[in-house]
Amino acid sequence: MLKKSFLPLSAIIGLLTAWETTSRLFDIPSWILPAPVAIFQEAIQSWDNYRHHLLSTISLTISGLVIGITIGIAIAIMLHLMPRVREAVYPLLIMSQNIPIIVLAPLLVIWFGFGILPKLLIIILVCFFPITVAMVDGLRQTSPELVHYMKMAGASKKQIFTKLELPHAIPQMFSGLKISATYSVMGAVISEWLGAQNGIGVYMTLASSSFRTDRVFVAIFFIMLLCMLLFAVILLLEKYLLKWRPSQEESS
């Protein structure tokens, strides 16, 4: 573990050092590119100024993500249990993903105003799709061999679903979850850009319009951190739930 993280860590440190030295050497104005140390100082100094923004974004992201995951799983199961509906709806679902969320957002604001609802909707819209697609595939790709055994053993449709298809789809669901988690933070920030009182997105807009580039970087840093934290939580959950899987070394 320590060995594995050594290379990327030294790359990050190298990058930061190069950044710091060049901005000092060439005296780059801080409104164009602030140096890392300056950004770090700003992050500590104005913690009290942006803390509530951060908390607001975190709670928005997590609520949207949880609802999105729930809806995504529910839709996947529904589509799986109703193959005719799946045939009809699945292509529509894929097509809907060609609409960039950023163009949908103003529409949602027109329809639902500036409250929490349109913001949640944006996050839900970006979150549910990766899970639904991954899980529908996972449910469908159950090994025919195992289905065959279950049928011969007299398993009912419900038993085949709960004991075979659902557990089989869990690994795929997790690959969908990882994508959704990263999307959810992006969705939250975009939704805040459209109009909100609080949130990292708001903080970012304010900072950029007053040329406080250091604050923009602070915002970017926290967005990355939030993404990574969500990702880590999902990885941990995956590791715990899927401990039956052969480890990477064995399977490759």
Partner: protein
């Protein structure tokens, strides 16, 4: 008691007749092998008995009851182990029982011990060798509530040494419990070593060509496979099968 009778079964897929006028039976506590060329329809027979397909004609009786189209009437072991990768071996062997009612955990542990899998009961299938997986799959079929057991080429994917070990192990368990078994194999020697009776099937469409009663005493040991009587029967069956293939 469990007794299986197939009466004048006919089954075709897309115009092609696979089984025609096929009749045979397995008596209570009897070990019967089906021997036939690849593609002759042996697995199809199991699928009919298992209720996965309906025969075009004929009836299947288990203990006098018509089981045509009834799933879950027999306990079944497929050619591949078909263990669920996310279940431990213990949870896997209880699956068959679990589908019908509450499984008996203690009995499962006891059977795993007898299969030499005690230390592996909390491992996952990918941690076991091919032979161990097959043993687990066999324990699962023994623990299933249905007394009649159908085994579809359970050892064909194993190497020669493991296969012999598995045959001896299977016999030792079977000789204690004496369930009725219908066993499918390509391997003549395996069929003779294990069975009370061998049914040779012809192909396209499959029908019973000849039956052989194997009367060697039990318990059987592997020395049996080297005796003249054994070789004589092997030769006879081989010639019957060759006749089937030449047609």
């Amino acid at each position: 008691m469990s007794k299986l009778v197939l009466e004048q079964i006919e089954k075709g897929f897309d115009e092609q007749l696979i089984l025609a006028d096929l009749s045979f039976g397995v008596n209570d506590g009897e070990f019967v092998s089906l021997l036939g060329p690849s593609g002759s329809g042996k697995s199809t027979i199991f699928h009919l008995i298992g209720g996965l397909y309906q025969p075009d004609q004929g009836t299947i009786y288990l203990n006098g009851q018509d089981i045509v189209g009834k799933k879950g009437s027999i306990s079944y072991m497929p050619q591949t182990p078909a263990l669920l990768p996310w279940r431990t071996i213990l949870d896997n062997v209880m699956l068959g029982a679990e589908l019908a009612h509450q499984p008996d955990r203690n009995q499962a542990i006891h059977m795993l011990r007898r299969a030499g899998l005690a230390e592996y009961s909390n491992r996952y299938p990918h941690e076991l060798s091919g032979g161990m997986k097959q043993r687990a799959a066999f324990v699962r079929s023994l623990l299933s509530p249905q007394p009649f057991i159908c085994l579809d080429e359970p050892f064909s994917a194993l190497d020669e040494f493991t296969r012999l070990e598995m045959q001896k192990w299977l016999l030792s368990i079977w000789e204690e419990e004496r369930p009725s078994v219908l066993f499918v194999t390509h391997n003549i020697e395996e069929a003779i070593f294990l069975s009370d009776r061998i049914i040779v099937l012809g192909s396209k469409p499959a029908q019973v060509i000849k039956e052989f009663d194997i009367t060697f005493n039990r318990p059987r040991t592997e020395d049996l496979t080297l005796t003249n009587e054994f070789l004589a029967i092997k030769k006879e069956i081989f010639q019957t099968l060759r006749g089937v293939l030449d047609d």
